[in-house]
């Protein structure tokens, strides 16, 4: 069972983790709407980190969710202890944006965030959120 603070990002993240069938159903829903399927992964859990690494090319020409699930499985095999999300991109003119995005894999232990206070002039305080995981260099995070 995952421990620590479960980060919430994208759709469904307040729910229990999605099952395989639920992920498949969501991907199929996207494909049926004409959306492209993309897989992304990262080990930087900061909420403002919007630049995740792409796992392969976005898949624009799928007919069936099996192709998307195939890549989800491969990405999990490669990065079992990182965050992986599925993005469904609506390529329609005037939309051209992510329509649905949800996390399908997360590290076993999510240590959470440290609050850093910076003392400024006149007793001002600036607050910074720092993920504990990010104190390790990229690649060494979420080792267990």
């Amino acid at each position: 069972m995952p421990t620590g603070l479960k980060i919430t990002q994208g759709t469904f993240s307040y729910l229990p983790d999605l099952s395989e069938d639920e992920i498949r159903a969501q991907i199929q829903y996207g494909i049926d709407n004409g959306w492209a399927v993309a897989i992304e992964y990262t080990d930087d859990p900061h909420p403002r980190n919007s630049y995740w690494d792409m796992w392969g090319m976005p898949m624009f020409d799928l007919e069936d969710a099996a192709g998307g699930m195939h890549e989800v499985t491969r990405c999990r095999e490669a990065f079992p202890n990182q965050y992986i999300k599925v993005s469904l991109y609506n390529p329609k003119l005037t939309k051209q944006t992510i329509a649905l995005q949800f996390i399908v894999n997360r590290p076993n232990h999510e240590p959470g965030f440290r609050l850093v206070r910076q003392e400024g002039a006149d007793r001002t305080i600036r607050y910074t959120m720092e993920p504990y995981a990010a104190s390790q260099p990229h690649g060494d995070r979420y080792a267990d």
């Binding site: 995952p2 229990p16 395989e20 007919e63 069936d64 192709g67 890549e71 076993n108």
Partner: protein, 372 residues
């Protein structure tokens, strides 16, 4: 190496297929829900537990399913090819009985449906393959009915590291449907051991074995080359459950095919033309590079062109064309073919050279004055 998605969820539990799976493995524990009787039944040996005299409603399933419809369509759409139809009918019935078995809890692995179509040029391999998607979809074996056609160019890369993504792309696109590999023997080239085709073959083998429920692979090609391909790559032949051989058509069947093709394009033969076309087929059969259905199609395309010229000349000559003119192929449109030249050169020497062009011209002239 535990993850957020727990391993229990990754390995699909047996209850997943029955819709009993809640997604959250703690759900039942937390809410103290009793396990349903279905879940208990799953644990026992169904072969022994289900009473032998349990009745199944085969009639209902058979009428509800589209099997009859599919087989009927196949019969009317394809001329001859009895062994192909028979094989598809076998598959259809197997899938139906499979569904019946599942309805009373007798789970079985879905059958392997990878196929290889071998036969001479123009025997209908590609035509049948492109119908296969719809057929298997209607029978409920695949989730989508699309056919992805791939050849060597789509699968094999140009440089190191190019092949795997390329092949995977095609495989993913075909998932849920049929992957049709035309002239499959081109993928693998035995004489060049640095050829990247080997990689494609290995990926295909893996997918054919592990993703059977997601993808049906159909390979097609000429018989001798496919046989060599199968002997060069030993794993492939055994992973293909259905080796279907497409026999050559005889003259009668080719005439039927020609009639169907014309019908589909809203043309028809008049009585003389049909006789002429029969003669044409008999002559063409024995000439080199005969390609069965494809030769028939080409011959008809040329006949349509000649008909167009004939009609144009007639119209120029002041004749009023009717719908009947537009849809009718006449004997002269067919007799103008070069195939008849040989016949006349070898068997006749009676002034009438049988030169089609001259004949057409003469006929057209007779109906007009303005022919230059």
């Amino acid at each position: 190496m535990a993850q957020g998605i727990t391993p229990e969820k990754l390995i699909s539990p047996p209850s997943q297929g029955t819709g009993m799976y809640k997604g959250d493995s703690n759900f039942d524990d937390r809410f103290g829900a009793a396990k349903s009787p279905e879940e208990f039944q799953e644990l026992k040996d169904p072969l022994r537990e289900i009473p032998d005299d349990l009745e199944v409603d085969a009639q209902k399933l058979f009428t509800e399913s589209k099997v009859k419809d599919v087989l009927h369509r196949l019969d009317s759409d394809l001329v001859a090819l009895e062994n192909v139809k028979e094989r598809i009918s076998e598959i259809a019935h197997l899938l139906l009985i499979d569904r019946l078995r599942r309805s009373i809890g007798l789970e079985a692995e879905p059958p392997t449906l990878h196929m290889s179509f071998t036969g001479n040029p123009g025997t209908g391999k590609t035509t049948v393959a492109s119908k296969m998607g719809q057929i298997l979809w209607k029978l409920g074996y695949i989730r989508k009915g699309h056919v992805v056609t791939a050849s060597r160019d789509d699968l094999v890369g140009q440089y190191v590291g190019h092949t795997a993504p390329k092949t995977r792309e095609v495989i993913k696109r075909a998932m849920g449907g049929v992957l049709f590999i035309d002239e499959a023997y081109n993928i693998y080239r035995l004489d060049n051991e640095r050829d990247y085709g080997q990689e494609t073959v290995e990926m295909l083998l893996e997918v054919m074995e592990n993703d059977r429920q997601d993808l049906v692979v159909v390979m097609a090609g000429y018989r001798d080359k496919m046989d060599r391909f199968f002997s060069d790559v030993p794993g492939i032949s055994s992973r293909i459950a259905h080796h279907v051989d497409f026999p050559d058509y005889n003259a009668e069947e080719l005439l039927d095919i020609g009639r169907m093709m014309l019908d589909a394009q809203r043309y028809r033969f008049d009585a003389d033309a049909e006789k002429a076309f029969k003669d044409y087929i008999n002559l063409r059969l024995n000439r080199p590079h005969f390609a069965n259905g494809r030769s028939v199609r080409n011959a008809l395309d040329r006949a349509r062109m000649r008909q167009a010229i004939r009609l144009f000349d007639a119209a120029e000559g002041g004749r009023t064309l009717t719908k009947k003119d537009l849809v009718t192929i006449q004997a002269e449109d067919i007799l103008a073919s070069r195939v008849f030249d040989d016949l006349h050169q070898t068997s006749t020497s009676d002034g009438n050279s049988g030169n089609g062009q001259a004949k057409t011209g003469a006929k057209a002239k007779s109906g007009s004055k303005s022919k230059k």
